[in-house]
Amino acid sequence: MILTLILLPVVAAIAMLGIRPAAVRRCLLIVVAAAHAILTACAWVNLPAPALDGWLLLDAPGLLFLGITSALFLVVSLYALGYLSREDWGKRQDFEEGFLFTNSRESVFLCCLLLFLGMMTLVTVSQHFGLIWVAVEATTLTSAPLIYFHRHRRSLEATWKYIMICSVGIALALLGNFFLAVASTLSENNHVPMLVSNLIQSAPQLHILWLKAAFLFLLVGYGTKLGLAPMHTWLPDAHSESPSVISALLSGALLNCAFLAILRVQQVCVAAGQGAFGQDLMVGFGLFSMLIAAAFILRQADFKRMLAYSSVEHVGILSLGVGIGAGAGYGAMLHAVNHSFTKGMLFLVAGNILAAYHNKSTRDIKGVLTVLPISGILWVAGFLAIIGSPPFGIFLSELTILKAALDQGQFVVAICYLLLLSIIFIGMATIVFQMSQGRPAGLPAEAATNPDSSSFLIGGESALAVIPPMILCAVILILGVYIPLPLQHVLKQAAVTIGAY
Amino acid sequence: MTMNMTSLLHIPTAFILAPLLLGIINRTKAFFAGRKGQPLLQAYYDIAKLLQKSAVYSRTTSWVFRAGPVASLAAVTTALLVVPVGGSAAPFHFSGDLIFLAYLLGVVRFFTVIAALDTGSPFEGMGASREVQFSVLAEPALLLSLAAMSLIGKIPAADSMLFQGFFASLSEIYARLTLAAWSHSGTVLLLAASAIMIVLLTENSRIPVDDPNTHLELTMIHEVMVLDHSGPDFAMILYAAALKLWIFCALLAGVLMPVRSGNFLLDTTTIIAGIFMIAIGIGVIESIMARLRLLRIPQLLSGAGVFALLAIVLVLKK
């Protein structure tokens, strides 16, 4: 079962390279995504048995993030269908600097996309720290070509930074793994295997000093991938230059994988009674990330970068939640779910706007609501959702975290948290409403929306471009007013694993 | 509701005697100027004459202009209902009637002002604007001075929350202003009285605030507002003004004449005598003082406010 979850996309990916006709490839993409989603659903219904003698195993956190990844991927691949069919594959002009460029081959793109899915799945299911490391690094490598889909210099630059920074970070994480191994060397020939469960069992005997060092390395290492400031620097570039489909996945799924990796370490630390050590660090990183996000969202000139920085903000909130602990643990888990879907939706909509305006500048774009009625509404709705206004999900998770912080008596943290949230709100509100309201301006010469005649339209936009974000919008709306019991159950368990509730 | 029949007599008294006050003031002024002066009953003649005349209306005006005088007169007349004449209670007395009184005068002002604005004449606009400016300061002064007096003889702090101790109506307040009251809190009453005096001069557009005689001069306030009224309307305005003057004089006289014998006839007559004295006083002031510059008037009025506040502070100290 678990192996199928991983192998299915990998095999399909390899198949992709072989298949010629585009239609078949795209169908295959959907099929795989759907199958993956179904398998995940089954996994939710009843937990699959562990595989590879316990190296691959689905526990609550894994299940949670697997669910997010799989669901988001399904929706995004739907969007990708429309995206790929709208994309023209010849040489075309870059709308910012005007030089000509092409896209990389679709088969390669889809291949990497599926591999990416496979590797993310691997992260969620693997219990062995080494394996987690391998998987996380693999996600970096498989996603690099995706970011370089549009073959022009900006995306190339973004890709280079992505690879360099993330690889360095991940390398540090590897060292962290070795430190962990040292920490788990009880005596000359007695090693605790690097499985999460075993480490937790024999946590009390671990060498605290090495464990702490290991935590630092892993935090910084995976934190680079997660996008915690000040290791976040690759994130805005990658998100703004990659196609919106990929940005959605990067923000919605990949960050969670890195987050999960950190959670695993935290699990061990908590078991070893060192929970507080990690928590303080995570609160610090969380607040700092929010501060950086606030600084760069203010007066941001590029709306995809704005979304990217908002991701920085929200990973900050995630780690803040874990750091505060207690009730905030639950809040953080819930927040991960909400943020993934919200941000995914926002990036997809951003893709639509970009396609219509051929422009990423927040100053030139005006009147989205009139030009793209559906996308415009979704854009505003997404904004309201992401800044945590009810009835969307993020409101609940942020409220939970705030309550935990205040109940813990961490008033300073709570005040900074609210202050930064307010600043970010102001920054985003200014930009979003500048874009969505007013008379249309900054439209390219050709008609604002030229969806291919083949796909049928909704409110003047192609269905495949607006339905996926609609779905996501519905999801976050529902999560905002009703959290299904099974989800609550998993969230609770996941929170418990890191010593919160 | 409590209405003692005897006190109803106040109303006709006021109706009859009010215009006389104008005559008295004019006569006093004439005496000081060494002139013979117009007859005492001049105001009555004017009103009678005006009532017989027809009216001219500006094309600019609407019904608001015609409503102005009627509304003012009606409001003033209603105000008479709550004004006690010295110790003898007013036909209507209820706690808070002093607020009612102040706000009825507000109604008068409101309608006079919009009637003035209705003509679209810059002069009347100017007068209106000054009228409202001064009222902003006059109204608190009046209320505070009355408040100060209401505290006199009120049972202090602790048990004053018994329902009857809940604050007094004008009539009760004035009933309490006996010689004894003067003897133990004379300063308070003096301050309050002077505040009321200043408000009286302002509200009735007398010198030093305003000059009722010089027609059409940009220094004027009240007179310029009624420039366009003619015939019966103007009669009503004159009469309303007279009644307003009567009301204020009555309020002042009630303070200055602490005669509370309980004998209705005696009390009333003394107070009415007092009212006439005050009219003479006004005449004296008008003849010995010059009009203040407009910029000075707010200071005069805030001075009244300060008197009232002082009075309250004093009475609370007791």
């Binding site: 062995h128 080494g130 394996l131 490391w133 391998v134 690094e137 693999a138 970096t140 490598l141 690099a144 070509p145 370089y148 073959r151 022009h152 210099r153 900006r154 190339l156 630059e157 973004a158 890709t159 280079w160 930074k161 690879i163 360099m164 690889s167 360095v168 390398a171 590897l174 060292l175 070795f178 191994a181 040292v182 920490a183 060397t185 009880l186 005596s187 000359e188 090693h191 690097m194 060498h207 000093l209 090495w210 060092a213 805005p236 570039d237 703004s240 230059e241 760069f296 941001q300 000139a301 970068r305 | -």
Partner: protein
């Protein structure tokens, strides 16, 4: 045995210093290659008693990959790119040397602060590993060319590897291989990217890679 280890370690440290000091790219690549080979040998003599098979195999693979494949890849990339052969650093060579000496001190201090649960033949291994990692980072940070950054990454990787090979011997084979594979892939992808960079900007200085900013 101890003697050999110490010699090896000293050699490794010297390679690091040489890397920081030398100005020619090709030379640097060769240094890194040499470092890779030395690393390959390290576990063979660092181990206790007779050497288990998996260690032999690993060191063999290491020597092959780090000592031969990577250098070859990089030299090829260097040849294709018509980049000038010197590496204009942000930080001058002498300064870098001084810095790296400082880093040695830091590494030794840290090693001192991190007592090993299992005593090793040479106390210098941990500082060596840390120092190598720092050198790698320093190389990445202080040099302009994309290739040198890859080199820096490799050196860093070597350092980590040194640590892993000598201390965490009980790591399962699968992980070792997976790690190696990842590193290999990483370098491979970087190579490709460098190739593209070279094609786009027709040189491989990273100075022009600064258009994305706020």
């Amino acid at each position: 045995m101890e003697l050999w280890i110490d010699i090896l370690i000293v050699l490794l440290i010297l390679t690091n210093l040489k890397l920081m000091g030398s100005s020619r790219l090709s030379a640097c690549i060769r240094v890194v290659a040499l470092q890779g080979i030395l690393l390959g040998i390290l576990p063979l003599i660092a181990g206790h008693g007779q050497i288990p098979f998996r260690v032999m195999l690993l060191s063999a693979i290491t020597i092959a990959v780090k000592g031969m494949v990577f250098p070859w890849l990089l030299l090829r990339a260097l040849r294709t790119s018509n980049a000038r052969r010197e590496m204009e650093p942000f930080i001058g060579y002498s300064t870098s040397m001084l810095l790296s000496v400082g880093l040695i001190g830091l590494a030794i201090w840290m090693g001192g602060r991190l007592p090993l649960p299992v005593p090793l033949k040479s106390p210098l291994v941990v500082p060596l590993a840390l120092f190598t990692i720092m050198t790698g980072l320093l190389a990445i940070i202080s040099r302009r060319k994309a290739i040198t950054q890859v080199l820096g990454y490799l050196v860093m990787e070597n350092g980590i590897y040194a640590f892993g090979l000598t201390l965490a011997q009980k790591e399962p084979m699968l992980i070792e291989l997976g790690t190696l594979l990842d590193v290999f892939m990483a370098v491979f992808v970087m190579g490709i990217t460098i190739f593209h960079i070279n094609r786009e900007f027709d040189h491989i200085d990273t100075d022009l890679l600064t258009t994305l900013r706020d």
